[in-house]
């Protein structure tokens, strides 16, 4: 079982919001910069890696019960985005790693995507 905490360590990520979720289990992982894709593909216990930092992304993640978001490439995140995440105790992480590399590391750790079993 992989916990949020393990991914934080693996990607050397900052926890910007949702500290109370560090011991929750991550069951599935996705990556997208398109809101509609995130909405469509979310599964229970899923975290999504993204380069997308508008407050909108938190709202869509909350609507679809995403476990958390990982912003890649150490991007600047608008204070409103972080504030909105904190207000809702939503798990928001940030890593300096690039999208591809970060995905690769998580995959190597054994976690699969929403299409697991279909590929």
């Amino acid at each position: 079982m992989v916990k949020v905490r393990d991914i934080v360590a693996l990607l050397d990520a900052e926890v910007l919001s949702g500290e109370s979720k560090l011991d929750e289990e991550v069951k599935s992982v996705g990556a997208s910069d398109m809101i509609s894709d995130i909405l469509a593909l979310t599964k229970p216990g899923m975290v999504v890696l993204t380069g997308y930092t508008y407050p909108q992304v938190i709202r869509s993640a909350l609507v679809t019960d995403l476990l958390g978001l990982i912003v890649v490439r150490g991007k600047n995140i608008a204070p409103e985005t972080v504030a909105y995440a904190r207000e809702n105790n939503f798990l928001l992480l940030r890593t300096r790693g690039y999208l591809y590399s970060s995905c690769g590391k998580i995959f190597a750790m054994g976690l699969r995507g929403g299409d697991a079993g279909k590929e």
Partner: protein
């Protein structure tokens, strides 16, 4: 609502369907100069009982049926050209004929199918009874109404899906969409989801309502350039979500339905919108979806979510 009114409302909805909408465009036709034997083979291969006959310019000049073939076999004229035995009194439909006119044809003439012709009398499609059924089913899934038909469906208090009365004042949840602020898009859906989360419904249906409403709401913000509202109604066995606006409407709903198609401008795409998945996601997450839109008048999205028939306490 009395049964009769309901039927009249449905009839008005289907008035919109034309022969061109429901016809099959995989046309089988045959030249009048070919041998009857040719028509016989074609009917055998395509498993059909009649073929429209055309001249050199592909204009409809007749029809040949299985009875004509039997007749030709009986009299040993199977190698004659088709034009000698074909029936020249063809009953055809025009592309723009209404569904009612199409149904009338089927009632008045006992043929299994009718060719559809364009302005030059060229065959552009064929309609069988199955095509009518398909056309109607498709409209049930997605209704696209313009012009005068709008008045009886758009901006009324009646559900376009169930025909029941939905009073804006009686909505269990209402949110006025601020379409001037793109960064606020989705706020209504998030609030609706929060509203439902506190009520002990199954997570799955709450999530489905959230996502589908989010897509409908962001569409209003991104595309409508008008005022919009989200109304939510809770029934014993279902939720109804209506998202209405008075904006520019959807120009081509068939295209808008396609995954990956988007008319979103660049500044909107930068924000992660415009994947062209909006309507596709609504369809995926709602149990029933109807979109009614008219250019420069507005769009009405209505979605139904059925509650699980029985909920057991989680142990």
């Amino acid at each position: 609502m009395p049964e009769k009114n309901k039927l009249a409302r449905y009839a008005a909805i289907f008035e919109d369907i034309t022969a061109g909408d429901i016809m099959s465009t995989r046309i089988v036709e045959i030249s009048a100069d070919k041998k009857i034997a040719h028509a016989k083979e074609l009917m055998k291969i395509k498993k059909i009982s009649g073929i429209p006959v055309v001249d050199e310019q592909r204009r409809l000049v007749g029809i040949i049926s299985i009875e004509d073939i039997i007749h030709a076999l009986e009299f040993n004229t199977i190698n004659d050209p088709i034009r000698r035995i074909m029936s020249t009194r063809v009953v055809s439909l025009r592309r723009g004929d209404s569904l009612a006119a199409v149904v009338d044809k089927f009632e008045n003439f006992k043929f299994g199918r009718f060719p559809v012709v364009d302005e030059d009398n060229r065959v552009c499609g064929i309609i069988s009874k199955e095509d009518i059924l398909h056309g109607i089913l498709e409209k049930f899934n997605l209704i696209y109404i313009h012009d005068q038909k709008r008045t009886c469906t758009l901006n009324t208090e009646y559900s376009a899906i169930t025909g029941e009365k939905l009073n804006a004042e009686e909505a269990d949840f209402h949110y006025r969409i601020d379409s001037s602020d793109i960064d606020a898009a989705g706020t209504g859906a998030a609030m609706l989801k929060q509203f439902l989360s506190g009520k002990n419904f199954h997570n799955d249906i709450v999530r489905r309502v959230g996502v589908a409403t989010y897509e409908a709401e962001t569409n209003v913000v991104i595309h409508s350039k008008g005022q919009g509202d989200i109304f939510f109604y809770q029934d014993e066995d279902r939720f109804i979500v209506r998202v209405v606006d008075n904006g520019v409407g959807i120009e081509d709903l068939d295209k808008a339905m396609k995954e990956g198609y988007s008319t979103a401008p660049d500044h909107v795409r930068e924000r992660g919108f415009g994947a062209g998945m909006g309507i596709a996601n609504m369809k995926r997450f709602a149990d029933k979806l109807v979109i009614i839109s008219e250019k420069n008048t507005g769009t009405q999205v209505e979605m139904i979510f059925y509650l699980p028939t029985q909920t057991w306490p989680l142990i």
